[in-house]
Every structure is written in structure tokens, then in C-alpha cells.
Symmetry: C2
Subunit: 352 residues, 2 copies
């Protein structure tokens, strides 16, 4: 297994197989950890950064937590490969663009990614399709335990795990789900959703996290505080109080649209979207996200029956700029990508 | 033959069979005539208006110039029927909305329409598909001669035929062509076209004449002055000097688009247009005009091969508001029309 193989396969989280996958695309948990006796990354000397990367890489690779995975040295990786890993949600933009030694260990099915020398020394992530937060937490705790056999985490008796950013101090746990909320967008109820998230101290953000816009009705919902709560409390509040409300709210909006007086207006949008995806000769990312989002809604509502949900999910990823270039094995400008994107979409959608 | 049959047939001018029909949809010539010894319409008393309508109707019907046609008493006609005749270019908006006795005689193939009590006592029109101005002028002169056997036209030795509006005095002849100029629109060269028309004392207007906007890249080009020139001069200037330039200019622009670096951009527009027309569940008139215009271009460029040009031409007419309602035999609001329009377009385009 190596980096170049990634574009040939679908990440586990795109399989649209998990629970509540109509609304919850994927579940993600992340732990932030730092080595005791070493400064945070931003305070490290270059030689300490190099030492950290070598030591952590060695232990992660030796620890067997990656299964049949591989390690990517991001300092040596090409910009296009780094961008591809960002698009696949396997590394952060921060890690992609950093200037010091750094890397990421990725399991073969891409459910596990361990970033070395991100803002914290280690950031471990489990990413799974649908609503699988409990399983993801179990899995990340096993990884944390395995690494703790080898490494000594910076831990404070009163505060908990110490992290570079205060918002991560405590459990170091961030949980998030990627939500598809097209009906709430269409019915103009997203504002309410944003208010509700704020009231529950949750963050609702665009597809690629902080500071990115919400593309094609996709949102990341995550907890904001990790201090003063146990893992158990954080997970329970998130999965039992907040999330079911969002899912139900979106499903009600879909039902109202699909069976109410605006039914024809909705069908019009859905059938136009699939027609454009199948016919356009040029398409930019924004339009693609907008149209695929409507098609995803159409598949979930049973309006479109000849395209599997997994194909739609995969297209979101395959048509991102870096994926497109890696998949077709040539560098392209925006105009060339728009043409290649349209062609790829057409081909994939006509295969079914 | 009667009014209700009109929606079941395609007007001759939609057949896309005449010369230069890629650019020239139709050719129209019109003569304005007034009876000697009677005031212009706007100066008539109500009883004079009634007398005029009865006398003119009688002579037109008896004259045999209508072939196998029929006369429509517009005072008795329903608003929807009057609107339908406007959409078919058989009467003017002015005549449709006037409040006094008036009517129109229409030949079975709709090439001839004689409006009674328009701005002038009689306005005779010949409308034919493609570039057939010479034939149209021959035909209208025969009609004029036939009616002159029965009626005495207001004529002045120095000015020529007298008309209600000074711009028609002289020959009373207006010639016009409906042009489809999508490529000049796409290449941003329409401004030049408008300037050229003004320099040649020609008027370039929207689809339904004065004061209407140019819908879907369709324009009416017509002569502006009729005084001080013979019929022959007017026709020669128009058909030999002005028109060939427009046709050539549009054809060059099409060629540049279809075979130049913007080729993919053009294909993108064309294939999106046909896809939307075949898939939308709601469509308003403006969008329909825009999309059908692109499809018409696509058919003419050989990009779309499974739809005859006549089908495209007919759809422009059949999907106009009044036609839609007469064809489906029910009154509809804008929203209902948008749904019915989308359905009708889809059906017509899938028949091929």
C-alpha cells in the first residue's frame, strides 16, 4: 500500500454504509497528544522538530496500530500529494503547509490517520462512514493505549492532557460529524441550525473545517470544549442530545419538501442537477458541489434510482482539484480541470 | 378553417425551409393603406369606425385574396385568442388591445394576414419562412392590386400613399426579417450590429416589435423610412446591401465559436441547454427562449442531430403563454404554465 494507490480506491468513510448515512456522511474522532519533556511544536528548535518527527514516526510505525498501512513523509511529498491528503481529510491544511519535518501514518482502509508534528506532536484520527462515533472512540482509545505503551504523554493531574491550544486541553478529544443538510438549506432554516449549535457550544463549519465555506450544503459539526468534561460526557452530550435533533430536523425538512406543495420545485432542482452533471462539458468545483448535493438528496429521496449513493459520495472526492490531477496523472490549470471534471463525472454517472 | 385550429398546426414561417434559414427565421412585408374620403382611425367617430370595419371586412372576404382563409372579429374574440394571434405574429399588440370594432383576415397557411382598423384602415402582411422577401413582395402586391379593384386608397400625387403615421407615408411598405443572432450575442458583437443598423437607417428590435426586449437572441430588422423612395429601392437596399452583411457576420461568428479555442465553452452551453430542456419540471418563458436559442444554434452547427429545426422553431411558439393555454385547453397562472411548458417541451423533444 502506498500513496499513489489512494486515488484508485474509495475511503471507507465514503461507502455510505454506516447508520444514518442519509444525513451523516462520516464520523470523526481525534485525540491530541504531546510527549512529556518536549516543548510544543511552535517552541521547538529545528533539531528538536527533526528529532520529534523521527522518534514519533518510528514508534507509530513499530506500534502496529496502523494495520496494513503506510507512512508519508510530508516534507518529501509533492504539493499535489499533500493537497490530495487534505481533500481526503487525512491531514489538516496546517500540516500540509508547515515547513518543518512532519508526516502522517495512514491505515490501509484510511479509517486511521496519525499526524506527526501537527500543532501537537501527535494528532490521531479515526474517520468512519455514517454515524459510528462509538466505534470510532473505541478504536482511537485502543490506538492511544498502544502508543502509550511506548510513549510518555504530557499530562497534568488537574487539567488532563496538555495541548498546544487551550481549547484542546483536558481530554484532547474532538469529535465531529460531516452532515449533509440540503433540505434545511432549501427551506431557509439553516440559521436556526447555526443558532442551536452555538447554544450547545458546538461548532458548525464548512467541509474542510475552520474558516472554509460550507460547500454544497455539507457541514462539520464538532464539540468546542474538552476541558472539565470526561470523554464519556462529551460523547454523550454530542451523540444523544445534539445530533439526533439535527438528523430529525433535516429528515423532517426533506419530507416536507418531497411530499408538500413545493414537491415540483424540488423535483425540478434535482432533475436539472443530474441532467447538468451528465451533460456539461466544463464544470468548476463550486457548481459540482452544489449539483452533487442535490443529486445526493435525490438519491436519498428515491427520485434518482439509477445511481448508487457511494458513486455520488466518491465523485465529491474524485473531482477535487488534486484528486483529479492525480487520477488523470497530469497537472492541469483551472480551465483544464473544469473540462476533465465534467468528463469524469459524465463517465462515472453513465456507468450506472 | 377556424381560429381554434391554429394551435394544431405550424405556421408556414416556422418551417425552417426558406433560404438562409439558419439566420433568417422569417421574412415579412407589410403595406399600410387607408380609404380615400374617410378620416384616419384616430379621427373617426364610433359609427365611422363601425362602418369602416364592416365595409373593409366585406371586401376583404369577398376579394378572394385570403385563399382558404377566415376572418376573426377581434371585438368578439376572447383575450386569450387575441394574445395567441399576437404570439403568432398575425396581429399587432395595438390591434389586440384596441377598443373599437376591428378584425383580421388570415389565410389558411397563415402567410397572409390583413388587419382591419389597425392604426391604418388596412394593414396587409405577408409572412414567410427564411429569406423570401422578393416572393413576399410579389404576393403582397397582388393582394394590394386585388383590393384596389374594390377599394379606393387615399393617395397623394407628391407624397404617395397617405398613412396615419408619417413614417409610413409614401410606399406604405415596411419590410422586416426575424434574425437569430446567437453567435454575435455570445461573442459580444451585438453592439456593432446595432450601430450598423442605425447607420443604415434600419431598426433592430426585439421579437415582438417596437419596445419589446430581444428574447433569446431573436431580433427584428426593418426599414425605417418609406417616403421618397420607390418600393424597388427600399427592397434593394435592404436585401442586397444590409441583410447579406448581417447573415455573413453571424455565420462568421458561429464558425469562430464552433471551431476556435472557445469550442468547448460553446459545446458546454449547447449541451447544458438541451439537457435542461429535457429535464426541467418548471420553466418560465425567458429561460425557455434562452435555452431554445442555444439549441437552435446547436442544431444549425450540427452539434445536435436528433432534433429537427422545425421542432425547435415550433416550440418557441407553442410554449408562449396563450398558446400553452389554448393548446392544453385550460387557463393557467404563471406557475402552472411553467410546469405545463416544461412538460410539453420534454414531450416534444423526446418524440425525436
Amino acid at each position: 500500500m502506498k500513496l499513489a494507490d489512494l486515488t484508485q480506491q474509495a475511503s471507507e468513510w465514503l461507502r455510505a454504509s454506516g447508520p444514518s448515512h442519509e444525513v451523516v456522511i462520516s464520523s470523526r474522532v481525534r485525540l491530541a497528544r504531546n510527549l512529556a519533556g518536549m516543548p510544543f511544536l511552535s517552541k521547538c528548535t529545528p533539531s528538536q522538530q527533526t528529532e520529534l518527527e523521527q522518534r514519533l514516526r518510528q514508534h507509530v510505525v513499530a506500534s502496529d496500530v496502523m494495520g496494513n498501512g503506510f507512512y508519508v513523509d510530508l516534507t518529501a511529498a509533492k504539493p499535489l500529494d499533500r493537497q490530495m491528503l487534505v481533500e481526503r481529510h487525512l491531514i489538516s491544511r496546517h500540516l500540509a503547509n508547515a515547513k518543518y519535518p512532519r508526516g502522517v501514518a495512514i491505515s490501509a482502509d484510511e479509517t486511521v490517520a496519525i499526524m506527526v508534528n501537527e500543532e501537537d506532536h501527535l494528532r490521531m484520527q479515526v474517520l468512519r462512514s455514517g454515524l459510528q462515533l462509538d466505534q470510532a472512540i473505541e478504536q482511537i482509545n485502543r490506538i492511544d493505549d498502544a502508543l502509550e505503551q511506548r510513549l510518555d504523554w504530557a499530562f497534568h493531574g488537574r487539567f488532563g492532557y496538555l495541548t498546544a491550544c487551550p481549547t484542546n486541553v483536558g481530554t484532547g478529544l474532538r469529535i465531529s460529524v460531516m452532515l449533509h443538510l440540503p433540505a434545511l438549506k432549501l427551506t431557509g432554516e439553516l440559521d436556526k441550525v447555526f443558532h442551536a449549535a452555538r447554544d450547545m457550544h458546538l461548532a458548525l463549519r464548512g467541509l474542510y473545517g475552520e474558516g472554509t465555506k460550507a460547500a454544497g450544503d455539507f457541514f462539520q459539526l464538532s464539540n468546542q470544549t474538552t476541558l472539565g468534561k470526561t470523554e464519556q460526557q462529551i460523547v454523550e452530550e454530542f451523540t444523544q442530545q445534539a445530533l439526533p435533533g439535527y438528523i430529525q430536523y433535516e429528515m423532517q425538512a426533506r419530507d416536507a419538501l418531497a411530499n408538500g406543495p413545493e414537491r415540483t420545485g424540488l423535483d425540478d432542482k434535482i432533475y436539472r442537477a443530474i441532467a447538468l452533471l451528465r451533460s456539461a462539458r466544463m464544470m468548476n468545483s463550486d457548481e459540482m458541489m452544489y449539483l452533487l448535493s442535490l443529486v445526493r438528496l435525490g438519491v436519498n429521496l428515491g427520485r434518482i434510482t439509477d445511481i448508487p449513493l457511494q458513486t455520488v459520495n466518491e465523485l465529491f472526492l474524485l473531482t477535487q482539484p488534486a484528486h483529479l490531477q492525480r487520477f488523470l496523472q497530469r497537472e492541469m490549470n483551472a480551465r483544464q480541470r473544469a473540462e476533465a471534471r465534467a468528463e469524469l463525472i459524465q463517465k462515472r454517472l453513465s456507468d450506472h
